[in-house]
């Protein structure tokens, strides 16, 4: 009844000794059954294919190739853009006064840890293009009378809060590391036609590339192709929650004049919640700042039309206090917040009064110049994929989640995904799991979403409360709520600590 079934070959001992033969004959058996889709020689196989060579995709490739348990796995990085000269870091090193790029990131401590582990941070530090943020000053627009002085929320820390680094410096450092890794292949100028994800874990994922007839097969496809991700839409049953903020971020690189006596000169990040959206100034060095000015579409278009000098004036107007308003309710709201701040300051503030006042003098900074052609703008939105993973696929970075830049968390969430996913893959290969195993990937999804979703909702909440003009609620009430919110955060050290810990990305 239980006769020995020999499926593959008649000679059992022969098979046991020659496993190459086993596989090839198994293939043959397979082909004879009519399943020709797999393992044909026309497709090139890589263990891992990463779609999208942005900061997160590159960090993913580096991190995976550095994992000891994954050593020897072949990684293919597909990048849509060309092999750009801008990533050549020597250009930056040789000319110290090379203008800063207008796209920068606030890199949190947990992201620094990731970049350190793949050796990219050392390169950035050697170039000296990382500037520590030692203090953050956040304030709100008011009616003008109280001068906003008592409604400043400051974060400062003995350690650095974050580092401001240009995106292309980070990319350059990552590409330098990637080029040193033997097992990473980078394909530039690659347009992907189609991602085919398998229904069963017996099959591999395939990537069809537009130019030429090449297609790739992989055990695990990682989508890091930004917020319009093609990989994301290939996941079956995917639901994506997203909306546009009907705001644009205007970026530029600025020269500023700040208080000479400031202890943290050159290391202060400013953010003002203006009526139309937050304006942030991120320090690049003593005199240079990167601007992220969130504003309405109409205003962004108007600003784009202005000459450089007019733009600087508009920005200074927006940063400094508004003229005293005639609106009685607004003034009342401002006064109420002012009184509350005084009371809270008296009873809760642990810092000594003098130190507090000294800092406040330097608000707001005065913009004196603008680097030519550094102005640009881009739309803002919110988005979250319900599924970060599928059979043989995982999403990282903006492909899985897109947030408002007001807290500077976008790229940091992406880097946390990288850490999380590589830890999970490391663990799963050690226990013999397939690298694209859905159960293992689901663990990554759980861990990543548990961390990302609260931060995303928090940032979205701040955006809703501070970052936009709301026509339903009278401006007096919003002003009051905003100011009270800031005052409470400033006074209650627990809330403040919670916020800065969350922003650092390290486990609390």
């Amino acid at each position: 009844m239980y006769q020995r079934m020999i499926f593959i070959s008649s000679s059992r001992t022969h098979l046991k000794t020659n496993m190459m033969l086993l596989n090839s004959s198994a293939n043959r058996l397979h082909l004879s059954l009519g399943n020709v889709s797999n393992y044909s020689s026309r497709k090139k196989y890589y263990d891992i294919v990463i779609a999208g060579g942005g900061m997160v995709g590159c960090a993913m490739a580096c991190k995976l190739s550095k994992e000891a348990a994954l050593s020897g796995m072949s990684i293919l990085l597909l990048e849509g853009g060309p092999n750009r000269k801008e990533y050549d870091l020597f250009a930056k090193k040789n000319t110290l006064d090379k203008p800063y790029s207008n796209r920068v990131s606030a890199v949190s401590k947990s992201s620094v840890q990731l970049l350190q582990s793949i050796g990219a941070w050392q390169i950035i530090e050697d170039l000296g293009r990382n500037n520590a943020v030692k203090e953050m000053r956040i304030w709100n627009s008011g009616a003008g009378r109280s001068g906003g002085i008592n409604n400043v929320l400051t974060f400062d820390n003995d350690n650095d809060l974050a580092y401001i680094v240009e995106n292309d410096t980070i990319l350059g450092a990552l590409f330098k590391q990637i080029n040193e890794e033997q097992n990473i292949t980078v394909n530039y100028d690659t347009r992907v036609n189609q991602f085919n994800l398998p229904d069963s874990n017996r099959d591999l994922a395939t990537v069809q590339v537009a130019n030429g007839e090449i297609s790739f097969e992989t055990s695990l496809l990682i989508g890091s192709d930004g917020y319009g991700s093609k990989v994301r839409s290939a996941i079956s049953g995917q639901q994506y929650i997203g909306w546009e903020y009907s705001q644009r971020a205007v970026v530029a690189t600025l020269h500023i004049q700040s208080d000479e006596d400031d202890t943290y000169k050159g290391h202060v990040a400013w953010q003002k919640f203006a009526q139309l959206g937050p304006v942030a100034l991120l320090p690049l060095d003593d005199k240079t700042c990167s601007l992220v000015w969130t504003t309405s579409y109409e205003e962004a278009n108007r600003l784009a039309e202005l000459s450089d000098n007019e733009f600087i004036d508009a920005l200074n107007d927006s940063l400094s206090e508004e003229k005293e308003s005639n609106n009685t309710s607004l003034l009342l709201a401002d006064d109420a917040a002012h009184i509350l701040a005084k009371v809270l300051n008296k009873y809760c503030q642990s810092n000594d009064e003098n130190k507090q006042n000294k800092k406040i003098k330097s608000i707001p900074p005065i913009v004196v110049g603008l680097i030519k052609d550094s102005r640009a703008s881009f739309p803002l939105g919110f988005g979250h994929a319900c599924q970060y993973v599928g059979q043989r696929v995982a999403l990282v970075g903006d492909a899985a989640h897109r947030i408002h830049p007001l807290a500077g968390q976008g790229v940091n969430l992406g880097f946390s995904d990288v850490t999380e996913l590589s830890n999970q893959l490391n663990q799963s290969v050690l226990t013999g799991a397939d690298i694209g195993d859905l159960n293992a990937l689901l663990n990554y999804q759980t861990a990543a979403q548990r961390r990302n979703v609260p931060i995303m909702l928090g940032v979205d909440g701040i955006q809703k409360m501070y970052g936009s003009k709301n026509n339903l609620v009278p401006p007096a009430i919003t002003t009051l709520i905003r100011n009270v919110g800031l005052t409470i955060c400033q006074s209650a050290s627990i809330v403040k600590k919670l916020l800065s810990d969350k922003a650092s990305g390290l486990p609390v």
Partner: protein, 273 residues
């Protein structure tokens, strides 16, 4: 005191009754069990399907096997903590089914043989193993008695995971397994315990709420750790190294180690030299 004595009496007589009835079964394989499991061939490898508990069990049982073999100094030092940890180790997976565990062991370079009495499941296993490239994996459609005839003392480790609860003649099954094991080799068993707790969770909750396909388990056939231990130590010349409790959360589909063996357990025994 009386109550306890009475309880032990009942369970003793139950055990004697079971041993008496079961010893009449010579075959270690039940035809209806094989048929039932063969019917699962459609969704065996569907990691979201009815057998997802078996899929999510892999990380724990594989690390249990790796740790057991490391403790027995079977794993070369250079391979500890790498993805080649089972290199040059010959393993027999008895009752491999579709090969969920077998493939995992082969992927970390184990030299793995899987046997199962179900022809359909071996076909599934062979078909699926194409995904592994250049790994040492081979399947045979046979029972342990048949396999033991030509493979005496030839394996470093024998794994029988979630199988023993489907076997009537446990004594015969285990002795044949141990026959295939080299002296000093390890036997790894995972199986549910026979307790009220396991009856409630496996039969009542698991099979009525469809976490497990209906009719998969017969609670009467489950074996307690002490019974298994006594067969292995008294009849099979084995020493028990460890017995660890397992628990499963069907809602998150996660297994974890616990102190209590009430629900399910993993046992590691070593054949005396």
């Amino acid at each position: 005191m009386n109550l306890i004595a009475k309880k032990t009496n009942i369970s003793n007589s139950f055990f004697i009754f079971r041993t008496l009835t079961q010893n009449y079964v010579k075959e270690t394989v039940n035809a209806h069990e094989v048929e039932h499991h063969s019917n699962m061939k459609e969704y065996w490898w569907n990691s979201n399907g009815p057998l997802n508990a078996l899929h999510s069990f892999n990380p724990l049982r594989v690390s249990f096997i790796i740790n057991g073999l490391t403790n027995m100094k079977k794993i070369e030092t250079k391979n500890i903590g790498t993805r080649q940890s089972l290199e040059n180790i010959k393993i027999l997976d008895v009752g491999c089914g579709g090969g969920i565990l077998t493939e995992a062991l082969a992927r970390i370079d184990g030299n793995v043989t899987g046997i199962d009495p179900s022809k359909e499941l071996i076909t599934i296993a062979n078909d699926h193993s194409v995904i592994l490239r250049n790994k040492n994996i081979i399947y045979f459609n046979e029972s342990i008695e048949e396999h033991a005839l030509s493979n005496t003392e030839s394996y470093d480790a024998i794994v029988t995971s979630e199988v023993l609860e489907h076997v009537s003649n446990k004594y015969g099954f285990l002795t044949k397994c141990i026959d295939c094991l080299k002296p000093g080799g390890s036997l790894f068993v995972t199986t549910p315990n026979r307790t009220i707790c396991s009856w409630l969770s496996v039969i009542v909750l698991g099979e009525t709420l469809n976490f497990i396909p209906k009719g998969t388990h017969e609670w009467e056939k489950f074996i307690c750790p002490h019974e298994l231990q006594s067969i292995l130590e008294n009849n099979c010349e084995c020493d028990t190294i460890s017995i660890n409790g397992l628990s499963y959360d069907p809602f998150t589909n996660r297994w974890s180690w616990t102190d209590s063996t009430d629900l399910s357990y993993a046992l590691h025994a070593v054949k005396r030299i």
